[in-house]
């Protein structure tokens, strides 16, 4: 059945700057904010915006992501017509076919999927950011302007601008210049990596780009500049609100901590629910000596120690006299009695032994010696792990 607009969600990246946290799981499947995974944000935004057909392109370590998405029921995306479709790379006749070589190549390889719905418009999203956005407003603008492509943009500070794709726009907010990570940015309008294309136009450029052996097959580096150079109308949709990249350890921790301050991104807002798929867990329990201050605690947790300024995912155990401060503990983490965790991210099911002291408080260290501590999943960790460390293996 024909759809007006479908979404293609690029969820195949490794998230290599998350190191130990994404060694076995794709970034969009990373636990976030106590109950969620990163991919819950773009998926929920789609459904809340009235988009009921989403292709999720996976590639890197997709097992947990595929299992989590399932039939799409948790986001009301299990539909008989449309709904969610998982799109990994595939082989064709004669064993031909490649891994996705770039963001544009990934979409190119799925032209067949898109054409099933014969859409007028295609929304390109990534599973890398935490934000709430009504894509239907962006689509309305795209249609009013009759653009070939509309890019969602955000004002950033001048200092940060060189990390982004920067747009220069005219008085109509149409793009006339575009630079990837410029050393001397000409403006502070950053691309959020969210694009709406008029499908027939995008199709043309994808095919042309595929035929160009020198291309990196990337939206930002190849498709957008090609459209710009050809004089196509590229417009911008100005976004304001909370939008956080969670691609580095620091930014992931930051974004999690933002969830504690009720102002940043209101997860309690019934008008724009962010849905997640929850495991079946009993309610959490606080013991007689528990301390829980400024914390998010999920179901199945057993708290007998101190939890301050931290986010605890489901089924985390904090033993008696154990303490966790300014940290993120992912599902199933166990702190044995007496263990201490500060300013750290501890990944799923890792056990912290009673003699362990993980991380440290910034004011106790000279600035160059302090940083967050990251512990990989499924480990058993004892002893002292200083700040600014990353632990990949069990030991001590």
């Amino acid at each position: 059945m024909k759809k007006k607009c479908i979404a293609m969600l690029l969820a195949g990246g490794q998230g290599s700057r998350l190191y130990a946290l994404t060694s076995r799981v794709a970034k969009p499947a990373l636990p976030f904010g106590g109950k969620y995974r990163i991919i819950d944000f773009p998926l929920s935004n789609c459904v809340n915006s009235g988009i009921d057909t989403v292709g999720v392109l996976t590639q890197y370590q997709p097992l947990e992501l595929h299992g989590y998405i399932g039939s799409g029921r948790a986001w009301d995306l299990d539909r008989s017509d449309g709904g969610i479709s998982i799109l990994p790379p595939y082989v064709s006749t004669g064993d031909s076919g490649t891994w996705y070589r770039g963001t544009a190549n990934a979409i190119y390889q799925n032209i067949g999927f898109i054409e099933l719905y014969d859409p007028e418009f295609v929304l390109i999203l990534s599973g890398d950011h935490v934000y709430k956005m009504d894509y239907s407003k962006m689509l309305t603008l795209h249609r009013e302007k009759n653009a070939a492509c509309t890019i969602s943009v955000l004002e950033v500070s001048y200092e940060e601008a060189s990390r982004f794709g920067i747009m220069t726009v005219d008085e109509n907010d149409d793009i006339y210049g575009f630079e990837e990570k410029p050393k001397n940015p000409k403006s502070c309008l950053a691309s959020m990596g969210i694009y709406i294309f008029t499908w027939q136009k995008l199709r043309e450029y994808l095919v042309a780009d595929e035929g160009n052996p020198a291309s990196d097959n990337d939206f930002g580096k190849d498709i957008i500049p090609a459209m710009l150079a050809a004089g196509e109308k590229l417009s911008t949709y100005r976004f304001s609100g909370y939008w956080k990249d969670v691609g580095t350890i620091d930014s992931l921790w930051d974004a999690n901590m933002d969830m504690l301050s009720q102002g940043a991104l209101n997860l309690f807002d019934p008008a724009w629910p962010i849905r997640a798929r929850s495991a079946t867990n009993p309610p959490h329990i606080t013991g007689a000596a528990a301390k829980t201050e400024h914390a998010i605690i999920s179901e199945g947790c057993v708290i007998d120690g101190t939890v301050e300024n931290s986010i605890l995912f489901s089924s985390v155990t904090v033993g008696a006299e154990a303490a966790v401060r300014y940290s993120v503990l992912m599902p199933g983490v166990v702190l044995e009695p007496g263990a201490v965790v500060e300013y750290a991210i501890v990944a799923e099911n890792t056990r912290i032994r009673q003699d362990a002291h993980i991380g440290g408080t910034p004011c106790d260290y000279p600035p160059e010696d302090w940083g967050l501590t990251t512990i990989a999943p499924d480990l058993i960790i004892g002893g002292v792990i200083p700040p600014k460390s990353m632990v990949w293996e069990s030991g001590r």
């Binding site: 904010g33 106590g34 109950k35 029921r73 948790a74 504690l260 009720q262 997860l267 309690f268 629910p273 849905r275 997640a276 929850s278 079946t280 009993p282 309610p283 959490h284 329990i285 606080t286 013991g287 007689a288 000596a289 528990a290 301390k291 829980t292 201050e293 400024h294 914390a295 998010i296 605690i297 999920s298 179901e299 708290i303 939890v307 986010i311």
Partner: protein, 370 residues
Amino acid sequence: MHSAHGIIFAYEATQALQELVAYRTSSSLPFGARYRLIDFPLSNMVNAGISDIGVIMQRGYQSLLDHLGAGRDWDLTRRVGGLKLLPPFGYTDMPSESYRSRIDALKGVYSYLTRIRQEYVILCRGDVAANIPLDDVLRQHVNTGADVTVVCTPRPELPIQESTFLVPGGDGLAREAITNPLQVPSGYQSLEHYVLSRELLLRTVEYGSSHDLSARGDFARIITETGKTGLYLFDRYVAAAASVPSYYQKSMALLRADVRAQLFLPDRSIKTKERSDVATYYGSNAKSKNCLVADGCYIEGEIENSILFRGVRIERDCVLRNCILMQDTVVGRDARLNCVIADKDVVINPGVTLSGHEAAPMTIGKGAKI
């Protein structure tokens, strides 16, 4: 693996629960911070591999309908079979008052019973919270060759005078059944969880109805007189909400780890309606000691020895002790509550002080504003 069909009796509202059953049946009573009593027999059946379950209801079942839906949260939405909600089917001689007995209730859904495809039927009360391995019960039933097997508890949980006691005879069988005794007899109390063959069930209902045997306890009596009665002894935690004080006491027992370990088993989990709340947030002034707390709560005050259901909001400077607060209840600033059971959607205004006693907790009805 023997095939079994499930039936849950969910039509009663135990009067001794007063306001707590003003808007619902006992099976729909919220329990354990995020469940309703019916979640336990339902989950027990699903965990035993039963995927076709009929839930008998009669009146006041809006709450149950809303909670159960199509059975999705228990994996019971199937193209063939799955969960079937059974309000009364019309039949000419149906009485206008409540079902007087199990026979009455089963008569009310007789055509459903005739279409059961499985060899065995497991029937359970909908208002008993316990994690019972029904597959084990079924296995024992088949191995002993009993005509009916009854799950019993060594510590009486249900009102004595309306229950049946079975005296064990060895080999998993009972040698005597005592129905509706005046005081506690020897033997073990039936939890009204039965296993019997489909044929025997149909014959029993036909016999009971054609002989107008509709007094309470007649079902138990007929089947225990039929032939061999099997006795499955279940000696772990059971919560049957027989009255407000016993509901309160059984709930407070959940604050003990050893009790929770008997009810919430990771490989036989209790499933309930998913509400997609956010995780619970504790503010900077929050204190939570010895509490069972569900998702979606927002806690800025002090709570101790209490059970908070989903979405409860506790404002600053409150002190709550020994309370049970059901879904979406809001407690305003500076309120003081002790031994209070608040039903859903209650609003306690700032500064209010309320106190009950452990043996006589104060109950606040659904939606009340104090």
